[in-house]
């Protein structure tokens, strides 16, 4: 067994040492920063691209190599304050060590109020499933939605199971958030008041609803 062991150690040295040497030489003696980036990116994820803005700043590289700014960025991410949400240190450290995304509970550190904000609450909100609908870094949809309505809604609300009474339910591309609120509201089924217009997750104050819908106050 000792002979087998020594032969394996020798094999290990023959494979790993040259591999590490190639990586180090390629990374340290590359001609230009861009070439070094190409070589290192072959072995590692997260190598900073010299043509990309610094970490923490807004934007991703588009297909044509241009920097495309996401329209909505989470403030801690924009500030490079990874520790606001990640416990493993920087974002990269966390992801490399666990390979899992963060839990939604971390959102409550700042957004505790949303759990009980409205009389009628959306289930995933009360059960702290924030990441079902929201993305924590940046998004091109308002309120950092992981994808725009209706795609974000039909993850759970299968269109075939919806009532066919409102004709909008028959339209696959209809925007759910034009009639329903995302977090909660004052009405059954999280319906918005049709006479008011406001962001999907920000229902109007109760006084405004009462004024816009006076018959609601009648017994």
């Amino acid at each position: 067994m000792a002979d087998r062991c020594s032969s394996r150690w020798t094999l290990l040295r023959r494979i790993i040492v040259p591999l590490l040497a190639i990586v180090m030489i390629a990374s340290w003696f590359g001609c230009t920063a861009q070439k070094r980036y190409v070589v290192l990116s072959f072995f590692f994820d997260g190598v900073p691209d010299p043509s990309k803005p610094a970490p923490g700043s807004r934007g991703t590289i588009g297909v044509n190599g241009q920097v495309v700014l996401a329209s909505h960025v989470h403030k801690p991410y924009a500030d490079g304050n990874c520790q606001a949400c990640h416990t493993g240190g920087t974002d990269s450290v966390f992801r490399a060590s666990s390979g899992l995304s963060i839990e939604s509970d971390v959102c409550l550190k700042c957004h505790q109020k949303v759990l009980t904000q409205y009389p009628v609450m959306h289930g995933p909100v009360t059960s702290v499933e924030c990441l079902r609908c929201h993305t924590p870094h940046e998004s091109n949809s308002a309120h950092l939605l992981s994808s725009a309505s209706p795609r974000v809604c039909v993850q759970c609300h299968t269109p075939e199971l919806l009532s066919t009474k409102p004709p909008e339910h028959m339209v696959k591309t209809a925007d759910c958030l034009s009639c329903h609120s995302g977090h909660g509201g004052l009405k059954h089924k999280l319906l918005l008041d049709r006479t008011t217009t406001r962001p999907a997750t920000q229902p109007a104050p109760s006084s405004k609803i009462a004024m816009a819908n006076p018959q609601r106050e009648k017994p």
Binding site: F43, F44, D45, G89, S92, V93, L161
Partner: protein, 671 residues
């Protein structure tokens, strides 16, 4: 709780309930007085809301049979009728700010007809359960809560009989809501009794008197300290022969300081003390320091030192341990963790164990076509220098969990097989034979859980055992472990993750007088995970080529949890393992299949069905087969609820066949 000998106690509680009703009525009558205009309205001194509750009638029938392969069959039939009244109310005394009171009680009668192989009897008894609490000065910074409850529930043992569990609690909780020194004091007494439905003798009984004290002190934004103290006296008995009276005390003080740098370096310190009497008496004192320095966002070093002293039976030991380590992150792909450490244990018999250890781990992940590659490489070196040891040492609270009925191997040199016992998280003690068996294997023991026993699956358990004397020896171990995993995240193979792991330990032993043998081993694991929507599957093969205890195992696991419709949920799972111990030429195959269906037929009618099957085929101790089926139906219309439950459990071993049938039907009307 059915207690034929305590009818006066039940009567007292009935009288108490009547008093509550009367007080509530008086308060309501007071509020019905004719109002005098201009006079200031006096709030009632005692005010309770309207009493609600329910009345229930329940019939339970159970049948238990045990048929030995050789010998006479025993059987027990039981029929129980229960009539119970539940009353609930809540209110306040003086003002809601002074005292808020919640009262709930369940009182009734019980008729029990028992028909056993050698006797027939009938008994009448009373039922009394309650759940009461009173909170004083709830809006103040020092609220006090007094509470008491007694509840009764039915506990199903997997592939075994249904037990009746009665838990009684009395307690008080005092909180200090201070911004700098939040404190909580709790004192309580808890009694838990479990008994078979057809037996008045308790199967298990534990009494616990405890006191908890928790205080936090926020010294500054970057410093805080925690203080915990726990005192508990426990008295437990079981029909399997456990009888233990023990007292435990523990106290700990921890301090945490986060440095004022932007990276969050920290220093954690702690001192603790504990003293336990009973079957496993031990006294422990411990001091630990942990310094974590974050030099950059990608590189940190950590330094740990701890010293503890343990006194158990006639022996004592002092253990010192120091570890220095680092952690480095290269981009998002490579994490390198290194540790080097030293540990020294001095025993009271003048023996000593000195241990040097080094580990270096590389964790590498990289996005590759169609998914993610996750690789690890671990190198380790360990040198243990043991002088001759005459005394027996103890291991306490070693974590253990059973996920199926497959055996678990505890690898430990010189372990004393007869000393192995298990406790659960509540402190309940299980001796060998009480739901599990312990078999000595080379370099350790094998623990095999038994279906139908009291040991729960998938819950934390704790092992206690002794390690016997050993001659002087030096053990040197070199280890290497390589693993690779490919997570396919895109394409038509999405969800498939093949993986493989190779592990190698080379061990040399100097001295030991042939009693301590080297255990060099090679282990190979390869398998695949598959996850698609609600379905998970895992197939794994493990081969361990060990000098002392070689074995190979094949494992399959499948799980399907699906919400078919808004009102229907389906869950299915199967775990199979086949372990072959090469040297002993023994083979154990275990299969555990579970299925469940929850369906709401209509707005008023719901039903749950579940079934399970276990099969253990051990070529040395024989075959075990178990089945279990259960059906629950509930129909609810306004304040009326009708419920029914049927359960059947059968366990067939080479020694005997045990079967248990249970039927429960009841009606409940709320008011």
């Amino acid at each position: 709780m059915r207690n034929p000998s305590c009818i006066p106690t039940g009567s007292r509680l009935l009288v108490a309930a009547a008093c509550v009703l009367l007080a509530s009525r008086l308060a309501m009558a007071q509020s019905d007085e004719t109002p005098v205009y201009g006079a200031r309205q006096r709030p009632p001194v005692v005010d309770f809301e309207r009493i609600t509750g329910d009345f229930s009638l329940t019939v339970r029938a159970s049948k238990e049979e045990q048929t030995p392969k050789t010998g006479d069959k025993t059987k027990t039939n039981e029929l129980i009728f229960e009539e119970a009244l539940t009353l609930r109310t809540n209110g306040y005394v003086v003002t809601p700010r002074f005292a808020v009171i919640n009262l709930s009680g369940r009182f009734g009668l019980n008729q029990d007809y028992l028909d056993q192989t050698d006797r027939t009897e009938s008994t009448n008894s009373t039922i009394y359960e309650w759940d009461t609490s009173a909170t004083f000065l709830q809006d103040s910074s020092k609220p006090l809560t007094l509470y008491s409850s007694q509840s009764r529930s039915l506990v199903d043992r997997s592939f075994g009989s249904t037990l009746e569990d009665t838990t009684t609690t009395y307690g008080a909780l005092w909180q200090l809501r201070s911004p700098t020194l939040p404190t909580e004091l709790r004192v309580y007494r808890e009694t838990q009794t479990q008994s078979a439905l057809n037996s008045s003798e308790p199967d298990f009984n534990i009494e616990r008197n405890a006191f908890d004290w928790h205080t936090e002190y926020k010294i500054s934004e970057r410093q805080h300290a925690d203080w915990n103290y726990h005192l508990e006296s426990t008295d437990q008995n079981s029909s399997s022969g456990v009888s233990e009276t023990s007292t435990s005390q523990s106290a700990s003080l921890t301090h945490s300081y986060v440095f004022a740098d932007k990276l969050g370096s920290s220093l954690d310190s702690g001192v603790s003390w504990s003293h336990v009497t009973g079957l496993f008496p031990i006294e422990t004192e411990r001091w630990s320091e942990r310094l974590r320095l974050r030099h950059t966002r990608k590189f940190e070093t950590n330094y740990e030192y701890s010293i503890d002293r343990q006194d158990y039976n006639t022996n004592s030991q002092i253990r010192q341990r120091g570890v220095v380590g680092f952690r480095h992150q290269l981009y998002e792909s490579l994490t390198t963790i290194g540790r080097t450490g030293w540990q020294q244990i001095d025993l009271s018999d003048d023996s000593q164990t000195t241990n040097w250890f080094d580990t270096l781990d590389f964790n590498y992940n990289k996005k590759i076509p169609y998914g993610l590659m996750l690789d690890t490489l671990s190198l380790s070196y360990d040198r243990q220098n043991n002088t001759a040891r005459q005394a027996t040492t103890q291991v306490q609270n070693q974590p253990l969990i059973f996920t199926s009925y497959a055996p678990v191997i505890i690898q430990q040199r010189n372990i004393v097989p007869s000393s192995v016992v298990i406790r659960d998280a509540t402190g309940q003690l299980y001796l060998p034979g009480d739901g599990y068996t312990v078999i000595a294997v080379p370099n350790g023991v094998q623990i095999q859980p038994e279906p139908g026993g009291p040991l729960p699956l998938n819950e934390p358990l704790f092992l206690f055992y002794d390690i016997g004397p050993a001659p002087a020896n030096i053990i040197t171990s070199r280890g290497l472990s390589i693993s690779i995993r490919y997570e396919i995240q895109r394409g038509w193979l999405k969800g498939v993750s093949p993986y493989a792991r190779y592990g190698m330990i080379d061990q040399d032993v100097e001295g030991g007088m042939d009693q301590v043998k080297p255990n060099s081993s090679r282990s190979y694991i390869y398998g695949v995970d598959y996850r698609v929507r609600d379905f998970r599957f895992k197939a794994e093969r493990e081969i361990v080529e060990s000098d002392l205890f070689p074995y190979d195992t094949t494992r399959y696991e499948a799980r399907y949890d699906h919400r078919a419709t808004v009102s229907t949920t389906i869950s299915l799972s199967a775990i199979y393992s086949d372990t072959h111990y090469t040297e002993q030429n023994t083979e154990i195959q275990t299969l555990l299949v579970n299925g469940g269906l929850a369906h709401q037929i209509s707005r008023n009618l719901t039903f749950n069905a579940s079934a399970a099957w276990v099969n253990i085929d051990d070529n040395t101790s024989g075959m075990t087969n178990g089945w279990e089926e259960e059906l629950r139906i509930t129909w609810q219309h306004r304040q009326t609820e009708i419920y029914g439950r049927v359960r059947n459990a059968t366990l067939d071993t080479d020694n005997d066949t045990r079967s248990f049938q249970f039927l429960e039907v009841g009606i409940r009307r709320e008011f």
